[in-house]
């Protein structure tokens, strides 16, 4: 029986020692002997004293004194016990002590040694690893927290929460409890919960920058990220939250921003417009002056295309700019020129000089850079200078023309006067025979007539002088228009020297009209005189006077040569004579005087004309001028 039990016990993987109540060995298995390196058969040890045996084998334990003490004390306590012991050679064992009683009487003590060295080493390794990772996580300069899918803290590193106590407290809590504990604003918890939920829903990491007051009074910028971790079964296992202080990045970002701002402030102080655009004509950079020159207002045009930017450029110049742009693209040669840009509100034109060139930048690759200068002032000055020069030239031409014409106009009456004088002299000197041939009275009256003609020309000239120096006297008086027109036409044109009779028509009872009689006489004389002069051999001119819309209308119509359409505007300029006057003499003064008369009366003079058909001059004067 004993032998059978022995064989059974020997199959146990743990060492087994049974002592009797007197602490004598009742039984020991092979494994036990193996463990303690006892070279004997189990049966040989039966009856040996355990205290002595303990003494003999104490050296095998890492802590021999403790072993000795345990061996003596544990059985005295009379209860089951389990602990760990380590041998001097490093092996670990679980030592289990069990007293066995029968009817209240101690029967025996059972010692069981189960080796756990491998397990123990594994545990140690795991512990070390855990410590290592904890250290690593704690040393990482970032807040790290692991959350349960319910957004409760599972883990926090030391960077996140320095205090061990709080850190421990946090486990199992959520941010609402955290902010309450710390007395923080509840919105922080709201925000984090929203981000957390979004990470969960989208299965994507969520990141944001949160700002916290720093102890030094500044601001800490923390880049926070929630990263949802899904396991192999595609279940959300946990969410990793980490926060990195990005003050440095923020600072350099800020520095770049400031640098950019300083640069753009500097660029904005330039009077010249500068810009950069892609070769696809998309604007990338521009300054304030650029906006001003393109008349775009203070807006952000980044990303807009040339078509939008050039909305105010004159269409014909737009084409030129496109061509310059394309040439630059093709040849990479700088292009320059000028374009006109409209201010749509004022209708003013700005002249802008441009210079565009090809540039290679690290950031944007090949781009078009450009500079614009507003040269409106210079251009306007040049234009007005040009206009002045043209005007000056025109005046010079007119002056030469005038001198030529006037001398011609004067020579004819002078000839008559001179010849008349000579003929009268001949009558004196060559006797009665000659005198009988000549009508001397007609000679003298001829002289008077020609002197009057010269006087008229001189009067006209003086009139121009007076008009141009503003010295014309305006003296409106009440007239009976019918009577007045009768008088002046009789004096001037009835009949005209070429035998034709002016057709006169005065409508209405115009007896309470106020005009300057002398000035209007001048005007009528000129208009009717012209009507005769420029319609030789044609139907007689017509003078029609009537009232219309509170105005006195004096209309002179002829069937003469007419006036070329493009010259109608120049007609009232002094000394101007239309290109089709041919050999018809004239000084080019008359119509200028007419216009002046109209203006002085606050009236108007208009002309309608068709070449080879005739002209109609219409002068309108207010009925009452006082």
């Amino acid at each position: 029986m004993v032998n059978t039990m022995q064989l059974v016990f020997n199959t146990f993987s743990s060492g087994l020692l049974v002592e009797d109540a007197d602490r004598k060995i009742m039984f020991v298995n092979k494994k036990f002997l193996n463990i303690f390196d006892i070279h004997a058969e189990p049966e040989d040890l039966t009856g040996a004293d355990c205290a002595v045996a303990a003494q003999q084998s104490m050296h095998l334990f890492k802590d021999p004194e403790q072993f000795l003490k345990d061996a003596a004390d544990i059985p005295l306590q009379g209860i089951e016990q389990k602990d760990q012991v380590q041998l001097a050679d490093g092996r670990y064992f679980i030592r289990k002590y069990s007293p066995i009683f029968e009817n209240g009487k101690l029967l025996c003590h059972v010692w069981n040694y189960e080796e756990i060295t491998i397990l123990k080493n594994k545990e140690d390794e795991l512990r070390q690893q855990k410590e290592f990772f904890h250290t690593v996580l704690d040393e990482i300069p970032a807040d790290i927290a692991i959350f349960s899918p319910q957004h409760r803290y599972i883990y926090l590193n030391k960077t996140a929460i320095k205090s061990d106590g709080i850190r421990k407290w946090m486990i199992g809590k959520d941010d609402y409890e955290y902010v309450e504990m710390r007395g923080l604003d509840i919105s922080i918890a709201h925000d984090r919960r929203a981000k957390f939920n979004k990470a969960k829903e989208t299965r994507q990491a969520q990141s944001w920058v949160s700002e916290h007051p720093a102890p030094d009074g500044g601001t800490n910028y923390v880049l926070r990220i929630f990263y949802p971790y899904f396991n192999a079964k595609d279940e959300l296992e946990f969410v990793i939250g980490y926060g990195v202080n990005i003050n440095q990045q923020k600072e350099s970002e800020l520095a770049v921003e400031q640098e950019k701002e300083r640069f753009s402030t500097l660029v904005d102080t330039l009077n010249d417009g500068v810009f950069q655009m892609t070769f696809d004509a998309e604007i990338q950079l521009f300054n304030k002056a650029f906006l001003k020159m393109m008349h775009l207002g203070e807006i952000d045009i980044t990303g807009q295309y040339r078509k939008e930017i050039m909305s105010n450029v004159y269409p014909e110049d737009k084409k030129l700019l496109y061509a310059a742009f394309d040439t630059l693209k093709e040849t990479q040669e700088p292009q320059q020129g000028m374009f006109k840009r409209l201010n749509p509100f004022t209708g003013e034109t700005a002249y802008i000089e441009y210079y565009i060139w090809h540039r290679h930048t690290q950031a944007d690759g090949d781009v078009v850079a450009g500079r614009l200068s507003d040269v409106t002032e210079r251009e306007t000055r040049e234009h007005s200078m040009q206009r002045l020069i043209t005007k000056e030239k025109e005046l010079n031409n007119l002056k030469s023309h005038f001198i030529h014409i006037t001398s011609h106009e004067l020579r004819t009456p002078l000839s008559v006067i001179m010849s008349s004088a000579e003929i009268l002299e001949m009558c004196e000197t060559q006797g009665e025979e000659v005198a009988a041939l000549i009508d001397t009275a007609s000679m003298t009256s001829g002289i008077v007539k020609e002197v009057n003609r010269i006087t008229d020309i001189l009067d006209e000239l003086l009139m121009v002088g007076r008009i141009e120096s503003g010295k014309i006297k305006f003296d409106p008086v009440q007239v009976d228009v019918k009577e007045y027109i009768d008088t002046i036409t009789r004096e001037l044109f009835l009949p005209h020297q070429d035998g034709r009779n002016l057709q006169i028509k005065v409508d209405g009872d115009l007896d309470n009209v106020y005009i300057d009689k002398s000035l209007v006489r001048h005007a009528v004389n000129n208009l009717v005189g012209n009507a005769f002069k420029y319609s030789p051999g044609k139907e007689a001119p017509e003078l029609h006077v009537y009232e219309h819309d509170g105005q006195l209308v004096i209309e002179v119509k002829d069937h003469g040569i007419g006036i070329p359409k493009n010259e109608l505007n120049s007609l009232f300029t002094s000394f101007y004579r239309a290109s089709n006057v041919g050999n018809i003499s004239g000084t080019g003064i008359g119509l200028m005087v007419v216009e002046h008369v109209a203006k002085t009366h606050n009236g108007t003079i208009k002309v309608k004309s068709k070449q080879a058909e005739g002209s109609v001059f219409t002068m309108q004067l207010p009925l009452r001028n006082k």
Partner: protein
Amino acid sequence: MSKRKVLVIEDDPGIAKMLKSIFLIAGVDIVHADTGRKGLDMLGSEQIGMIICDIMLPDIIGYDILKQIRTAEKTGHIEKHTPFVFLTAFADPADIQRGMDAGADKYLTKPFAAGTLLDTIKEYMPDETNF
């Protein structure tokens, strides 16, 4: 042979009247036309010894009248060279040059002396003058 006449083409009635008076005193017959067209017509219907012509005429400019006459002479429509004198207010050297280039025999400018005119007639129509 009937007495040849001076053709005066002049639109200004005052000048025309003076010329008539001067030639009347000189005993020279004249015919007067106040347009170029009329003047050219008279050239065909009258015995003309010389022509005195203004430049600024209402219908045909004096230079063109002269050109037409010279062309007619070349083509035989007019038998022989008719002396042609411009009497005009255009007194610029350029105007004078233009007139002479057009084929004028003489270019007189206004205002003119009666004596100069009479000398010119004597020069071109010595047989018809009695002074």
